[in-house]
Every structure is written in structure tokens, then in C-alpha cells.
């Protein structure tokens, strides 16, 4: 594990999948040769969303569900920053569901790592949008009735250009995928399966370990295949890059952003003067 991004005391439970994700992220940034000041890690609120606190990069810990709007705007404002979102499944797909939908459409060049423990960890064990049918929690004593949301098919159908799944228990593989995701020019989502040892007694480390397999010979350019793979769940769970397509990202729509980032461009006094005089 790289020490360049420092090691902090965390408030996570021993054995939590979040540790491996944090380590993987540090390794990834190291491999990509990124200095701490070049990276901005954004989180919402939740256990996963505490990650920005535990890594020595620029950080923004915002509101529950609102990591994406902060992250994309930060990127638009200074596209020289590598902007990475690390946050939970509840944060990304529940409270922040609307931003998830629309930021896929917007396609700003950021990376979204969802720590998907299929549970609300911080608030102590309520079901999340990805909790399986029948999942019994203290808050769903008769099991979850609501159908789980599939973030991957959702992302695919909304036109996301980089869709992947990973598992915190396969760290080297996770690092590979993180690198690809960060290097992808556009919005990249990686749904990372993450055991929550304290509150998710169904989808445990062993549960995931028994099911995940790395995708081999998968043509991630084939959208139909991608949908097929993204739908595989329960008995077996494929991990890897499910879909990837090059496409223009948000900032490509603005000619003036090609020269330099927004933050380094001023609206000249002459321009403002002219705009005022248009009202004469």
C-alpha cells in the first residue's frame, strides 16, 4: 500500500470492506503517478463517504446524496483536477438517485466509486436500494419487499460510457479497474461490492467470494452483451469492465475550455462593457 497519501485512524469496523477500497485507491493514485494536490476526492455522507477524510488528497465531504453535483461542478471549474467520488450505495442510488441519472447524461469526466454494501451502514442497518428481496433487517422485519435497483443496467440504459463492477475482496483486480476508470475520459461508474460486517449479515464476505468471477473474453464494446453481463446476479456475479465506449465528455462542448480550465479564464471588462451597452 502506498504511504504517499498518508494513513489516518478511521472510524470503520475491523473487517469492513472499506479498508480494502481505501488501500486500493491509494495504490491506484500511486500507480497513476498523481500527487495529492492534483486529486480531489468527494464524498456524500455515510460510512463509505468518510473516505475523503482518510486520504491525503484534496477532499470535499458534502451532504448525503449530493456528492455528484459537487464533484462534477468542481471538475468543470478546474478540469486539471482528477475528481473522484467515493460514496455509498444509499448515497448514490437512494438519496442521490436523481443526480446519478442526470450526471450519466451530463458525462463530466469524473470517476464514481460506489461502495455497495447493499445496506445503510452509518444509520445502522436499514435496507438500501440494492438490498435483495427478502433481506431481513431491523427495519424490514418481514424482509425487503421493494425490488432492488440494478445500478449497472441503469447506467447502461442511460448511456454511461464506462460501467464496471468490482469486489473489495479482489484488491489487485480492483486497482486495475480503478486505474481504467480514472483514465477514462468521461463519467465512469464502478459499483464495488463491499461487505459490511456489522449490518449486512446476508451479503457477507463469503457470500460475495463464493459468487464473484472475473470477466474473461468479454467484449466490453458490445452493449447487448454488456446488458446481459450486468444482469447476472445471485448465483454468480461477474466483476470487471462491463462496458466502455469513447465519447465526448461535458467539457468538450465548450471551445474555450480547450485552452485552459474555467478557473483560469476571466470575463474581460470589454466584454462586460459591450454586454451592458447592448441595453442602451
Amino acid at each position: 500500500m502506498s504511504t504517499k497519501y498518508a494513513t489516518y485512524e478511521t472510524a470503520w469496523c475491523p473487517g469492513c470492506g472499506n479498508f480494502a477500497i481505501l488501500d486500493a485507491l491509494k495504490d491506484t493514485l500511486n500507480k497513476l503517478n498523481l500527487s495529492p494536490h492534483q486529486v480531489l476526492v468527494v464524498g456524500g455522507i455515510g460510512q463509505a463517504a468518510k473516505l475523503p477524510q482518510y486520504i491525503n488528497t484534496n477532499g470535499f465531504e458534502g451532504l448525503h446524496g449530493r456528492a455528484l453535483p459537487v464533484a462534477i461542478a468542481a471538475k468543470i471549474a478546474n478540469h486539471n483536477l482528477k475528481v473522484i467520488v467515493n460514496t455509498g450505495d444509499g448515497d448514490s442510488y437512494g438519496e442521490g438517485g436523481n443526480h446519478f441519472i442526470h450526471n450519466i447524461r451530463r458525462n463530466v469526466d469524473i470517476t464514481h466509486f460506489v461502495h455497495d454494501n447493499q445496506i445503510y451502514g452509518l444509520t445502522k442497518g436499514q435496507s438500501s436500494p440494492t438490498s435483495g428481496l427478502g433481506h431481513v433487517t431491523d427495519f424490514t422485519p418481514n424482509g425487503v419487499f421493494n425490488k432492488p435497483l440494478n445500478p449497472l443496467t441503469m447506467a447502461l440504459s442511460l448511456g454511461a460510457g464506462f460501467v464496471a463492477r468490482a469486489f473489495s475482496g479482489e484488491k489487485d483486480h480492483l486497482v486495475e479497474i480503478m486505474q481504467e476508470a480514472i483514465n477514462y475520459k468521461g463519467y465512469a461508474i464502478v459499483d464495488i461490492l463491499q461487505p459490511c460486517v456489522s449490518f449486512n449479515k446476508v451479503n457477507t464476505f463469503a457470500w460475495y467470494k463464493d459468487r464473484v468471477y472475473k470477466l474473461k473474453d468479454h467484449d466490453y464494446k458490445d452493449k447487448v452483451k454488456a446488458f446481459e453481463v450486468a444482469n447476472i446476479w445471485d448465483e454468480e456475479i461477474p466483476i470487471g469492465i462491463i462496458y466502455k465506449e469513447e465519447m465526448p465528455s461535458y467539457t468538450d462542448n465548450f471551445g474555450f475550455l480547450k485552452e485552459k480550465p474555467l478557473i483560469e479564464q476571466d470575463t474581460s471588462k470589454e466584454t462586460v462593457k459591450k454586454l451592458i451597452e447592448d441595453f442602451i
Binding site: Y8, S35, P36, H37, Q38, L40, V42, I45, K50, P52, Q53, N56, T57, N58, G59, F60, E61, G62, L63, R66, L68, P69, V70, A71, I72, A73, A74, I76, A77, N78, N80, L81, N98, H99, I101, H102, F254, G255, F256, L262, I263, Q265, D266, T267, K269, T271, V272, K273, L275, I276, E277, F279, I280
Partner: protein
């Protein structure tokens, strides 16, 4: 010289073009104009009107008594005839009927059809209207050719001439006094202020009456090199603006009360994370959907108190388009100086009223960024300091320095903490910089006599009606004055307390039903204000109405 014209009809009848062309012809001649828009929340039909007051002297508000009514339909004639002066004129097509001898009908539709374009009917009326004031076609071609192709322009010019030949001059006009002035509304002034302040990022979700800030900015985005993003909702809008501001660009969002309700958690985020943020809150009558296209000043306490927890924010209410322009530029400086949200409080009346104002002067605009350019290697984003202000460095520019922003209570480095000591330090730090901000707060504007016998109070857009009212009241007996608040939170109290001692009566004037300013004054100074003139039917108070009620209560 001063006249007041009402143009009314259904949405989609060409009223907007008629109004805009008439306004420009009047403006370009060097007259001052004040146009009030009264429209319904629908795309077609309904009853809508514009009231255009013009004069050779500066105007501040609209006026109820009418000299001319252009009735594009029967309803306009029926509804507004009662406000027409004795020697006034209703000008309409022959399909409008009335026994009133002041009605003058012309075959506008028939003539327009003859010209080959029935849609130029309103231009026939325009020709007749200008003729009533003895004004010819000066500027007409220039204005039409800017809007339409040659064929349609020529049809309009022809229709205009036909209209001119149908009536005789009725009103005397002076020669306008031409100068470089702007014809602009409050929202456009806010948008220009933002550009003058070098705002780079504007995110918003459409909501009347704030939408036109965004629609203006988006048309100038390329030219001004700014990003204007339509967010998926107001929660996204404010969080985007916060994200952009957090890395160092000047960012802004704008909305009306409903959208601001959704932004409330974000407002608190800007408070605790100390992000400089400017929010335009353009009020309309609430709660919930309320009256979308009408005016009210009922979000004052909401703006001041929105969000859980305690933190400083500055609320500036806007008095006029000039004020909106300069205050918007100032809002960005204050937001950055004190690293907190600044709310610009406007309303539909100011947002939509197009008026003649003096040219905005960019030499009066200062951009003060308050950014730390050379942070040391042990830089801390929330470093405790004597003023409560921590130097603000930007992420990405300083090797070895990282910037952390946090919505949790945090330590000096921006890391989450539950330490009681740090919590106290941080709450106190934020409170300290807010008390410091009080030094930058501007006292209310004084109208009429300073420390008068009869003192009127107001805030925000009622500045314009109060200005006219006080002037007229003083014509009879010089004993009236008004204090109109611009900066309203923190509430400046010095001038108020001075006048409080000397005035015999204080009358508070507001566009809401609960006298929120009076209650804020009571809360802040302990002083009671007993007399209120309140209007909350969604229509703007007029100077005449204020005068009438002042004379009633005093």
C-alpha cells in the same frame, strides 16, 4: 410631462412585440420609461397586460391612472376603463365595444390584412398610439429590421403608417433628452452584475420569476466564457454552485421560494464548509406554488432563518436595477471575504419591470478575491484566527498543500471531529467572522427628509414606490421621509434608531401579510412599529396607494 399607457390582451396576440417596440421607440427618443408586466401563469390566453409609464424625468415606479389603453380584446377595455383619466383614450380594433365616449376604434385588423399580414394588426395600433402623442416613425425601421426579415419589416412599416393616418395628436410631448441610458429589468441587472464580478459558473433550475437570469446568461455564455448549467433540481443547482466555488471560481445559483426551499440544506453546507456562494432569491407569492407570476416580499424571514444550525449569512434586498447590478458585484466580494453564503433578495416586481436607468459604470466595480496565493506547507483550510476568517487557498495549485472541505463539524484541517473543544472553537470562529461582516453592512437608503415627522419603512423593491410616494407627499407638506433597507441581514439599526427618536409616526410598508420587517426590527431593536401598509394579493403596491393609506392612518 408624464404619460401612462396600458397594453392588454391575451398571451399570443402580439402584445409583447407591441410593448417592446413601443418601449424602445420611447427609450431611444430619450424619455424615461417604467414598464410593469402583469401576466398570468399560462402560455396562451388569459388576461395579461403591460403598463408603460414614460416621462422626461427619471421614473421609479408604475402608476395606476391611465392616459391610454390599447385594448387587444374586450376584456382589457372592460377591466381597466375605470382607471382611465377623464381625457384618456381607449384605442382598439372595431371588434371592441363600449358606450364610453373615450373609446376610439380603428380597423386595425382589416388594414393589416390589406397590407398582407394580419399579424401586423398590433403595428397598426402602434402607429395610432404614437400619433396620439405626436410621435412619428423615428427608430421604427431600425427596431423592426433587428427583429424581422425585410419583407415582414416592410409590412410592419406599412401597417404603422396606416395606423398613424387614422387618429389625430391628442397629447403634448416634450423633446426627449437623449443620453446613453439602459432599458433593463432587475433580473438582467443581476445577471450583468454577476458577469461584471467575473462569475464563472451559474447553475439553476427554471422557476418563475428567477428564470430570466439564467436565460440571459446562457445566451452570453460563449462570449463571456462562463458555464451556465441547467441542473436536474434545485438541490443539484446549489450543490453544483458550491462544488464550483469550492475549487475557486465565483459561482452562483438563482431561484424563487419553492426552489430555495429545496436548497436549504445546501445553504447550511455553504455555511459550515465556509464556501463563498451567491444565491439570487427572486420572490413570488407562496407558499408552495402560490401565484407563480406575481409579486410578494414574504420570504424575508425564510431567507434569514433557512437551514438547521447556526451560521452567518448576509441577505441583501435589491432596491432597483442599478442597485441590483452593483449589489450583485458586491455580494461576490462579501461572500469571498467572509466565506459564507450571500442571498440577493429580489421579487417579481423588480425582476420583470423594465425601466430606464443610468449606464452601469464598471469603474465603480471592484473585484476583491480574498484568496491566499502562497499557502505554507502546514496550511490548514479552517485555521483558527483572530478574525475568524481562515485564509482560503485553492486546491490544485500548490504542491504539498491539500484542501479539505467538510460538512461535518471539522478541525482546522477539515477533518471530521466530535471534540467538544473543537466544536466550540469552530462555532465561535464562524460567529466571529460574521460579527466582523457587520462592519460592511450598509445602512438603509434615506428618501425625502432625514429624521422626518412621518417616517415610512420599507425594503427591497418597494424602494421605487416609496421614492415616488415620499416625493409626492412632501409636495404638500414637507414632513415625510423613508428608510428603505437594502442590506437586511444582519439588520443595520443605526439610522432606524436615530429616526425612531425623532419621528412622530412610523409606518411600515411591505408586500406581505405579517409585516416581516417590522417583526425583524422588533426582534433586533426591541422597538414596536404599530402602523403597517401591507399588500399581499400578488399585485404591486403603487405610490398612489401608499399615499392614500398614509393619509388615512397618520
Amino acid at each position: 410631462m408624464e404619460y401612462n399607457v396600458l397594453i392588454g390582451g391575451e398571451a399570443g396576440q402580439g402584445m409583447k412585440t407591441l410593448t417592446s417596440v413601443f418601449s424602445q421607440m420611447i427609450h431611444k427618443r430619450g424619455f424615461y420609461l417604467f414598464t410593469l408586466a402583469d401576466y398570468m401563469s399560462r402560455v396562451r390566453g388569459g388576461h395579461n397586460f403591460f403598463q408603460l409609464r414614460f416621462s422626461d424625468d427619471k421614473l421609479y415606479s408604475h402608476c395606476e391612472k391611465l392616459d391610454v389603453i390599447i385594448a387587444l380584446n374586450q376584456e382589457t377595455c372592460d377591466l381597466h376603463l375605470g382607471r382611465l383619466k377623464e381625457d384618456g383614450v381607449v384605442l382598439a380594433d372595431t371588434n371592441v365595444k363600449s358606450n364610453d365616449s373615450r373609446l376610439v376604434t380603428i380597423k386595425a385588423k382589416e388594414l393589416a390584412t390589406e397590407v398582407g399580414n394580419v399579424r401586423t394588426m398590433s403595428t397598426v395600433l402602434l402607429g395610432a398610439l404614437l400619433k396620439l402623442f405626436g410621435l412619428d416613425e423615428e427608430y421604427l425601421e431600425e427596431i423592426f429590421s433587428h427583429k424581422f426579415n425585410e419583407k415582414i419589416t416592410n409590412q410592419n412599416l406599412e401597417s404603422y403608417q396606416r395606423g398613424q393616418s387614422l387618429v389625430e395628436q391628442k397629447f403634448k410631448t416634450s423633446k426627449g433628452n437623449k443620453a446613453e441610458r439602459l432599458l433593463i429589468n432587475g433580473n438582467q441587472a443581476i445577471a450583468l452584475g454577476a458577469l461584471a464580478a467575473n462569475m464563472k459558473f451559474y447553475s439553476a433550475y427554471p422557476m418563475t420569476p428567477a428564470t430570466s437570469i439564467m436565460s440571459y446568461l446562457v445566451t452570453k455564455a460563449e462570449e463571456a466564457k462562463i458555464i451556465v448549467e441547467q441542473a436536474e433540481d434545485e438541490i443539484a443547482a446549489i450543490n453544483m454552485a458550491i462544488g464550483a466555488a469550492s475549487v475557486g471560481v465565483r459561482a452562483m445559483t438563482g431561484t424563487s421560494g419553492g426552489g430555495f426551499s429545496l436548497m436549504v440544506e445546501g445553504l447550511g453546507l455553504a455555511g459550515i464548509a465556509e464556501i463563498p456562494l451567491v444565491i439570487a432569491l427572486v420572490q413570488r407569492p407562496g407558499p408552495a406554488t402560490g401565484l407563480p407570476t406575481r409579486t410578494e416580499q414574504a420570504d424575508l424571514k425564510f431567507a434569514i432563518n433557512a437551514s438547521q444550525g447556526e451560521f452567518g449569512r448576509i441577505v441583501i434586498s435589491l432596491n432597483s436595477p442599478e442597485d441590483a447590478f452593483y449589489q450583485t458585484t458586491r455580494a461576490f466580494n462579501l461572500a469571498e471575504k467572509y466565506q459564507l453564503p450571500v442571498i440577493l433578495l429580489s421579487d417579481q416586481y423588480l425582476a420583470d419591470a423594465t425601466q430606464t436607468v443610468n449606464l452601469f459604470d464598471l469603474d465603480k466595480v471592484a473585484i476583491e478575491r480574498s484568496i491566499e496565493d502562497e499557502p505554507s506547507s502546514d496550511y490548514k483550510r479552517y485555521a483558527l484566527s483572530e478574525t475568524g476568517i481562515s485564509p482560503r487557498a485553492l486546491p490544485g495549485y500548490h504542491s504539498g498543500v491539500v484542501i479539505n472541505h467538510d460538512s461535518d463539524e471539522h478541525d482546522e484541517e477539515g477533518n471530521i471531529t466530535e471534540s467538544a473543544q473543537v466544536r466550540n472553537d469552530m462555532v465561535n470562529k464562524r460567529a466571529m467572522k460574521f460579527s466582523l461582516a457587520k462592519n460592511d453592512i450598509q445602512e438603509p437608503k434615506v428618501l425625502g427628509i432625514e429624521n422626518p415627522q412621518i417616517l415610512l419603512l420599507g425594503w427591497g423593491s418597494t424602494y421605487s414606490q416609496l421614492k415616488d410616494a415620499v416625493e409626492l407627499l412632501n409636495e404638500n407638506e414637507r414632513r415625510y421621509g423613508a428608510l428603505v433597507f437594502g442590506d437586511i441581514w444582519p439588520l443595520p439599526t443605526k439610522k432606524f434608531l436615530d429616526s425612531y427618536k425623532t419621528s412622530e409616526k412610523i409606518i411600515n410598508v411591505e408586500q406581505n401579510s405579517t409585516a416581516q420587517l417590522a417583526s425583524l426590527i422588533k426582534e433586533t431593536t426591541g422597538k414596536d412599529i404599530d402602523l403597517n401598509i401591507l399588500r399581499y394579493d400578488g399585485r404591486p403596491l403603487s405610490a398612489d396607494e401608499i399615499i392614500e393609506k398614509v393619509l388615512e392612518v397618520e
